[in-house]
Symmetry: C2
Subunit: 380 residues, 2 copies
């Protein structure tokens, strides 16, 4: 191996008519100059421009090693003038992770996830990283594809909002720090930030029971993840605590991803015209219940009270306002991102789960049941 391996760098910079103030840019590459994709400005270019070496330029710009103040100033000036922007891939390739943080959600159109994403983005940006967003639309295969993309780009860490085990396992298997949000998959080795679904549901249903309701329906998306399951558990626990017997017929479990939840709610209410209150386990269910109640002209809370788990904008704008279990979603995004960043910055130690407490917000949609006989919400 010879001594002169590096590319020769003569022929540019160094005295090419820059005597009068360094106005002449080498090759007309001023940012905002020519149209179309120009060659990107590299460290070597600014080094040539200043007449120093790549490594010195690197040190000056990265602020790590020692560089003479005067030289450093000239390098910085050249970098600014040429519009230098360091190339992340090169830096990443060198060994550091990309600084990208993956966020996998299951439905961005749902305000819940949008809020969550907003919270995550805020904290991530404040820490100087970027969010790579993938929406799997509830499709496990998409989630896995997303997870692969995250490891391919050497994401510094990943946040998983409701997705299955497979994606989590893949990531953890590749050594990528993972924080699960809103739900725990049960995969070992990842942190989690969740909301105490059970106690939130218990409180909501307890409120209904305290008002005197005895036939309270619960409408759930699914009971296979811990969110749905724990909300149902809370519903049951509240009944037990109040000494009110449970009736299986009052549980409407839609199984995963129903096409038209409102129709299912309608059929359910037709079959159970005597319910006096409904507990909706999430915002999608709440919307379906609300719409159906409105459609059949059932007065809320006159004929039927209702409580929602999750509190969105529309719930406080409608008349009457919906009594709801408010989840601090945005904050949950903040916290999850925070936890992930701590983990990335060398936080070792055991995986931890942080649990946030939801809060029951009382509004107009709940009241004591009508005592008049026959005041049911049966068939429209």
């Amino acid at each position: 191996m010879g001594a002169v391996a590096g590319r020769a760098r003569g022929g540019r910079g160094r005295g090419a008519g820059r005597g009068a103030g360094g106005a002449a840019l080498s090759g007309g590459k001023a940012p905002g100059g020519g149209r179309g994709r120009r060659a990107r400005v590299t460290l070597r270019q600014i080094a040539d421009e200043v007449g120093t070496s790549q490594s010195t330029a690197s040190r000056a710009l990265a602020g790590h090693g020692y560089v003479a103040p005067e030289l450093k100033a000239r390098i910085e000036e050249a970098a600014a003038r040429l519009g230098y922007v360091p190339d992340i891939s090169a830096r990443t390739l060198k060994g550091h992770s990309s600084g990208l943080i993956g966020l996998l959600v299951s439905d961005l159109r749902n305000q819940f996830y949008a809020q969550l994403a907003a919270g995550v983005e805020q904290t991530v940006a404040a820490a100087g990283h970027q969010v790579v967003l993938v929406d799997d639309h509830g499709d496990e295969a998409e989630a896995v594809r997303g997870a692969k993309a995250f490891v391919a780009m050497r994401a510094a860490g990943v946040l998983l909002a409701p997705v299955g085990r497979e994606a989590t396992e893949l990531l953890v298997g590749h050594g990528t720090p993972v924080v699960e949000v809103d739900r725990r998959s049960g995969v070992r080795g990842c942190d989690a930030v969740i909301i105490d679904s059970e106690s939130g549901a218990r409180e909501a249903v307890g409120h209904l029971l305290a008002l005197g309701h005895r036939r309270i329906a619960v409408v759930v998306d699914e009971t296979v993840w811990d969110t749905g399951r724990n909300r149902l558990k809370g519903y049951r626990a509240a009944h037990r605590a109040a000494g009110v017997p449970l009736a299986r017929r009052l549980v409407l479990d839609l199984g995963l991803r129903p096409d038209d939840p409102r129709r299912d709610v309608a059929a359910f209410l037709d079959a159970n015209p005597d319910v006096t209150a409904v507990f909706a386990a999430n915002n999608v269910m709440a919307e379906a219940v609300w719409q159906e109640l409105k459609r059949r002209g059932a007065a809320v809370p006159g004929r039927c009270s209702m409580v929602s788990f999750d509190d969105l904008t529309w719930m406080r704008v409608v008349e009457p306002g919906l009594t709801a279990v408010r989840q601090p979603v945005y904050e949950m995004g903040n916290r999850a991102a925070q936890l992930l960043i701590e983990r990335i910055d060398g936080g070792h130690g055991r995986a931890e789960t942080r649990t946030l407490r939801p809060e029951l917000v009382l509004r107009g949609s709940t009241a004591a049941p009508a005592s008049a006989p026959g005041a049911d919400i049966g068939a429209s």
Copy 2:
């Protein structure tokens, strides 16, 4: 330079007790194996494993050049077994762009942007790329920081939803394909997908005028971007078309980013108790108007009609439903991403702007004005 420049690759793979089916992984690196960050699996490793060269492995896995079927199969098997995932940064560094697509929005908590982001994500993912999401919270400096990050990561292209000129110029100056969404900055050289604000507003206000309203207020966020400006323009155009004189006092322009729009609306209504209808120029304004109308117990549409530009979930759930100018937001995200991808895939030619037409959705919040004298919505 000697002939043997590559690192020696003996000592691993090649006959290390793999006779019985290749079960022994070199060094126990099975995905899902040990805890903690393991060394990542590289092309060289799988090449060694199979006993071939890096480039052959590359060709086999990338599907480009020629590789003997049998060898190819063995390479693929090894890759799968070792959990190989190609390193994007290396590929990017080599010259290809990262495949990442930047999306800059100004407020993800606003459902409008969330829907937009969802639409973008869908199309981008379908094209095999990823979305890097940055929310600048309406802060130009943040937007510029985001734009820099996009060029640093060699984003294949960037989508800009309402942000100022500076970020756009920076990106365009670096040769990054840019598509502006919802608003045009006026910077030359970038495509745009927007909604015809003026005609939407004209139609909405025209509807109000046709119902007989003569004192119609308009509430706008800002009139410095083309969105707000064009909606105001539409408001005026409708009046001119109907031969109804314009009154300056009926225009409430909040200037950018007001803290508490509802309070401003309240003051405005106190000062103009004779308005019979309000046109809100976007969803934030609509919420403020709606809340304030409700607060002072003004019947809608009895005392005051209202129309919103932008149609969100809550607007069709409240009673009465809001008459609104529906913008195909999700679709706008799709289209913008589509346009960007076309541009990335070599679409040259002139920058183009695609305009989507909004649609007026009639609901219960608009009716003919009350003819009774003194039926105004003045001070609460």
